[in-house]
Amino acid sequence: MHSPPSRRLVALGVALLVASSALLAQQGGAPRRTTNAPPAPSGPTPRTADGRPDLTGVWNALGDNLNGIPNQMANNGILIESATSARDLHSGLRIPVFPRNTTRPQNYEEGERAAALLRRVGANRPVYKPEYWETVKNLDHESNVEDPSNNCMPAGIPRAGIPSYIGQQRDHLIFIYPGQGGLIATQTMYRMVPIDGRAHTPLQELDGTYTGEGIGHWEGDTLVVDTWGYSANTWFDQIGGYFHSENMHTIERFTRNGNTLTWTVTVHDPDVLLEPWTSTPRVAVLNPNPKAVLPESLPCSERDLNNLVTKEHH
């Protein structure tokens, strides 16, 4: 669905699909969620010997990105409160809804179009310079072929969101982002983020990469990861054709509260954006098994895109 979402929504009034991942929701052992409200924290926040919050752990208790409500949807800030109630997290506005017909199977057409609309209804959007509006629209319209994370390339930062594993040492952190095979098709990424007080390499000396040069520091109990040195080959949010330049500079904030980890990113890219954009907070939940290990993600081999006959997409 690619035209102005408000007009489309009014015109169609179609069903919204929240959990296209329902089939997957039963796989990870985590309870299936019927709302995507940010999970409430529980338990203490562990600290390291030097008094910092310890972010170490496997942060996949919501079942990676596709169990329950996909992060891709939570990322766009639509709070699904029940089958009859939804709200925009960013603006607080209530979205009028009515329950869909559950007496018959929802076919692919209804489900997909509903999901495509849902992902575009959030109010928290980056503001591009006017000369790029057409570019963004076209990228979204042509996303079957243009989405850089649709053909097994890395999602990049910040699109990858919250890492599924964090290993925290005194002077660095390890982040692991498993490849995804759901609404996007990506390969595994890792980051090694120093927190030793070093300065960035001058931007002009960095070759752009998918995860950039990330350097962390603590602001109180919040880990701040400051990253630049990106390639321009990724989008910075899940949908919408949100491209960026190689001068993108991101500030991620990780805050642990008990068994939850809240993440936001602010994207600075004055080459293409009129103003910095800050994501709606996303929340990950720690795997309750203290002995949990992060499972291998499947290798990715994309074979469908050459067989698509329409531009319909998510």
Partner: protein, 134 residues
């Protein structure tokens, strides 16, 4: 879509809490959701990969030629749950004779989206959503 902030539409929207399995592309952009095909043949390859697992089936035509079909399958974990993981636990393996019911490819290629699978021993697996979309 203009990339500017906009207020939410005051549209009446149906809200669904479940639906067909997720895919990295639109199902209907690739497959005809109203047309199925049935193919019987021999399993050549089972691949549990992202973004979709694949079942490759070879079909010997009446003229002796061999046609290869590639069927897109659900997520690997779903197949495992259905007992289609290891061959020694009843899973698929190369050489198995199967009949596949699939949504037809809209471009006429020898591909499809797996809906039902019948094994030679009589077992049947269905991958269509139930009435609640699960």
């Amino acid at each position: 879509m203009t990339p500017v902030r906009r207020t939410l539409p005051a549209a009446a929207l149906a809200l669904a809490l479940a639906g067909p399995s997720a895919a990295h592309h639109s199902i209907q952009a690739q497959f005809d959701i109203n047309k199925t095909i049935t193919v019987s043949g021999t399993v050549a390859k089972v691949e549990f990969i992202n973004p979709h697992s694949y079942l490759t089936v070879t079909v010997k035509e009446t003229d002796g030629t061999v046609t290869k079909w590639a069927f897109e399958m659900a997520a690997a974990a779903q197949l495992r749950r259905a007992g289609l993981s290891r061959a020694d636990r009843g899973g698929l393996k190369a050489g198995d004779e199967v009949t596949v019911l699939a949504l037809a490819a809209r471009n006429g290629s020898n591909t499809g989206l797996l809906q039902e699978l019948k094994m030679a021993d009589g077992r049947e697996f269905k991958f269509t959503p139930d009435p609640t979309g699960n």
